[in-house]
Structures are given as structure tokens and as C-alpha cells.
Symmetry: C2
Subunit: 161 residues, 2 copies
DNA sequence: TACTAATTATAAGGACCCTAACGATATTTG
DNA sequence: CAAATATCGTTAGGGTCCTTATAATTAGTA
């Protein structure tokens, strides 16, 4: 099928400022994430939702009030233009509606519909149960360490180049 | 800017088969990977390469012989159709050429050009040095643990649903 | 008040990635 | 040997995501 990514043995000789271990971490991090996203996408496929629009729907389902695209973009770390497209597809499926913002006429608010809430209630228990299964190969302490490592990497990656 | 992802406190009450920690791991894994991919993409931008086509070029630069799209798709875990598109754009930039396979006329071989090898030599030291910097927030032992966790997750994610 | 700057959502165009299907070629099977 | 099956790269169509540009509205300032 596919083995974990390995780095060539002469790697550090060729790239003196590099670390084979760091590069191996980077490639396997991305690889693992892609596997996970594909798995979640497969769970959402019966509902005609992508992993991105499923996440938007989850965010709206968890929010007590409708949210502006602005804020959704910030949470997903994608551009506002991307959120426009995601809301378009969710609106086409009647999972959300766009409402005018009461005080700022530049803005709209995305509000989940009953049908959207129903869809979220259909897939979220499945998805979260699977996540639990997948990560159960790590015990609690290992999960905490893994999470701590991810947090530190995020900080490191957010520092100005 | 953006904080690490947190899970609502009533999460496990709402989803009995779920684990807040596992879901938090999953979301932060994907988030961290996306940050990393964007960082690498920014490094490749001056060369008009995306992170995906940069990876294809690296694979071809490391291979002693030209490779069939088939095999590139397997290493990248993307479809063959995707590789066709990546090779198209690399060929447009004269970074690779398509050669007929000597024995199997269904296949082609992607061969890196001198110009492609030059491009790879331009960006790889930069990219790998940065990877080293980013991951230096973890010490050697932590990197090994992180890598081991990723390997186990990959296995777990590859098991049939 | 008028001007400028900032922020909003959206549109347009491009890259990546998928599935499904197609034609060509190889391989296996009867 | 002939026919069915499998595999190759590619194409077509759709979704996601990006950057850049645009129109509308708001906020800040002289």
C-alpha cells in the first residue's frame, strides 16, 4: 500500500542546514493530515458535504447566533473568498441561509437551517467517534504530548519568516 | 491572530462515543499541516511552483531514472489524474519531459530536465533548512516521539473502515 | 461636510484534487 | 489463438481554495 516516508541517507550531506529527522517529521505530518482529511471526507460524502463545508456547518451548529463570513474565515484559516464559495454550496443545499446584518450593511450573517442542523446531527457523532478510534492508538499521555507538540509547531510556523 | 483549536466543554456529553482530546488532536493536526504547506508554498512561489509540483520535482530529482506517473501518484497519495495535471504544468515550465516507456506502450516516463534540476537545487536547501528551523522547537527525543505517533496514526488511518 | 482609508462580500481566473469514463495496450484465461 | 480482464495515461466535469480586483458601506480625519 504505502510506507511511511523515509529520507535518503545522504540527505544531510547534501543539505548542510537541514535535518533528516525534521524533514521526515514535516512530510509525515502532511501525509497523515491528508489521510485524515480524506477519511473524514469519505464519511461526509453520503451527505454531499466536503470536509470543508462540513466544518463550516459544525461551526454554525455550535454557535448560538448566526455568524458573518468574516469570522468563519478566521476560524478556518482560509480567505473570505473561500468562505463565500463554501456558503454558496451550503446555501444551494438549503443547509444555511444568508441574512442581512442588522447594523452593518456591508455584512451578512450565515444562519444554519433546520435541515442543516439535522445534517450536522447526522454526521457529527460518526465523525467524532471515528476520530476517537483513530487516535486510540495513542494513550492519553501520548495524545497530550502530541497535542503539545502541535501547539508548539503552530507557534513556530506563525512566527515571521 | 489565531489560537490553537479548543473543544467545547460539553463535547463528550453531546457525543458519547467521542473524545474531546482525540478531536482536538485531529483538528490541530490538520491545522498545523495546512500552516506548514502554506509556508512551503510561499518559499516556492518565486519559482512559480506550488508545493505539490515542487514535491514532484524533488521526487524526480532524487530518482536516478525517470519515473512513470503511476509511481509518482502512489508516493504522493494522489490520483493519477492529478499527477497528469502536475506533470502538465511542470512540462509547460520545461522542468520535466515526457518520454515513451521503452517496453510498455501504455506508459510514459517523466524525466527531469537540466532546468528542472537547477530549480530543485535552488529551492531544496532553503525548504529543508526552514523545516529544520520550524521543528527545532522540539528536541531530538520529542521529534522521534512525534514521528512515531504519526507512523502509528498512519497505520490506524489506513485500516479498512 | 468632504476626503481618505479600511473593511465588507463577491466575482473572475487559475491551480489542485477528485471520480468516472475512454482508448490503447498488456496480461490472463479459456 | 481468441476473448475477457486489468492497467496505463488522459480527458471531462465538479468542488475547493487561492490571489487579485471591484463595488458598497463604514470609519476616521481635516
Amino acid at each position: 500500500m504505502q510506507r511511511p516516508i523515509q529520507i535518503a541517507s545522504d540527505f544531510e550531506a547534501r543539505y548542510p542546514a537541514a535535518s533528516a529527522r525534521a524533514t521526515e517529521c514535516a512530510m509525515n505530518l502532511v501525509l497523515t493530515s491528508e489521510l485524515l482529511v480524506k477519511r473524514i471526507g469519505a464519511l461526509l460524502q453520503p451527505l454531499r458535504l466536503s470536509s470543508a463545508s462540513g466544518l463550516v456547518l459544525s461551526i454554525l451548529a455550535d454557535s448560538e447566533s448566526p455568524l458573518p463570513p468574516n469570522e468563519i474565515a478566521e476560524r478556518l484559516i482560509v480567505s473570505r473568498a473561500t468562505v463565500t464559495g463554501l456558503l454558496d454550496s451550503l446555501e444551494r443545499q438549503n443547509y444555511i441561509r444568508r441574512l442581512p446584518h442588522p447594523s452593518d450593511r456591508r455584512m451578512i450573517l450565515a444562519k444554519i437551517t433546520d435541515s442543516g442542523r439535522q445534517a450536522a446531527q447526522a454526521f457529527r457523532p460518526l465523525v467524532h467517534a471515528r476520530e476517537n478510534e483513530w487516535f486510540s492508538v495513542l494513550d492519553e499521555a501520548e495524545q497530550e504530548q502530541f497535542l503539545a507538540a502541535l501547539h508548539r509547531l503552530q507557534e513556530s510556523l506563525r512566527e515571521l519568516s
